[in-house]
Point group: C2
Chain length 262, copies 2
Amino acid sequence: MPANIQNIIVLGSGNLAVHLVRAFVLAGKNVRQVYSRSGKLPGLNDMAGNIEIIHDLQDMSKDADLYVLSVPDHALPEIISRITLPDHLIVHTSGSVSIDVFKDRFRYYGVFYPVQTFSKKKTLAYKNIPVCIESNDPAGIQDLTKLAEDVFGQACEIDSPARLKIHMAAVFASNFTNHLYDIAHDLLDSSDIPFDIIRPLIMEAAAKVQADHPASVQTGPAQRGDHSIIEKHLKELAGSPDLHDIYKKISDSIISFKRSRS
Amino acid sequence: MPANIQNIIVLGSGNLAVHLVRAFVLAGKNVRQVYSRSGKLPGLNDMAGNIEIIHDLQDMSKDADLYVLSVPDHALPEIISRITLPDHLIVHTSGSVSIDVFKDRFRYYGVFYPVQTFSKKKTLAYKNIPVCIESNDPAGIQDLTKLAEDVFGQACEIDSPARLKIHMAAVFASNFTNHLYDIAHDLLDSSDIPFDIIRPLIMEAAAKVQADHPASVQTGPAQRGDHSIIEKHLKELAGSPDLHDIYKKISDSIISFKRSRS
């Protein structure tokens, strides 16, 4: 039987940290403390009364069930070097940092990486979010799996090299797609056309790959080999070398994927 | 009062043509004939009994209310040169072809361009789809607007240069994002990780921009300026020069958009 992780301390104040705190609390967990270097926690004001915010690691309580490090990757080694927790489970939440970052300082550690995009201003349902779990200890796997299932609905045991692949895939499928939405917004803005005109299209493009392989629902000029449209668009983008370049690279890549599969 | 377009002939057999026929029929319109060069209409087999499929333009009936040309852009001039319709409304459905393609041969013409992505194998609800309407005649604007509202729920009067911008924006926000999903699929496949792990993320990324500006919900390593992750991912992609290049270009573009707005 996995142990029930109940008392949690979150270290960090970024998008993911704030959503983790909210998700833990909504799932009935006790978030004892949140460490924020600035002493502030924008996005959690409504919960501020119930959570102790600390801005000095000296004040960190040493009797929680789980310590969650949700700080930028480059800040992990430094914060790890300042924490001593002989027998407590500690995890980081990064997609791209190996579990070995904990190796020399802790006995019981792991990773808890939810595969989702979190923005402070955007609420979302904390269910149906796969969480990648890793631990140096079989009990850690069990306990973190139960926590992930309780809070986010899904857990997958994933080692560090596979998690790096998942993070990269997530960057392409989420961060980069959002930037393409942003480019589209700019293009429309330049002709005073409201972004609303492509919002249903954006939803449908995401909906299409929920059941199907993206390759089987690829559409557009590059997929059809309609070079007259591609040339027309590239001409229109001539004044924006970066966008011109992105348009060309992705169109070429669509054509090359299609060729490699035919 | 706009006239009620009831009898429609569709020329074309691609993704959009098939979905248009289906949408018109579902909205109670009478699709009299569909012109398919091959004489076949994959994706409309269930409706085949009620619709006459012609594969010779000589057989095209001359008494419909509307003729919808839904063929590849490069095929438009040739098919237009083979049609004579002195007093009937004819439209094309292209995002990137000017309305002027009809100018010298027709008296009454326009454009009917639904801003959506259509795949033959994927059904979708034909509502809340903005249709860009254009006509050389005020009555054409009125009639096509009513048709668009009846069939797809929304109509916008858009001239040819603005429509080209919308089409470009749609290519970025839909065709290109789908290719990024495809790249992500490949990355996961290479480590035997099921695509399911990022499907909720893909939906949420699209959902986030339904109310907000994409810039305000941009997340990820490039947005945070986390160069250690970017370098790690680029190193991982070193064996795939095209993906490496796309990763770098889009990351640079995210950083440059952020800088230009700060």
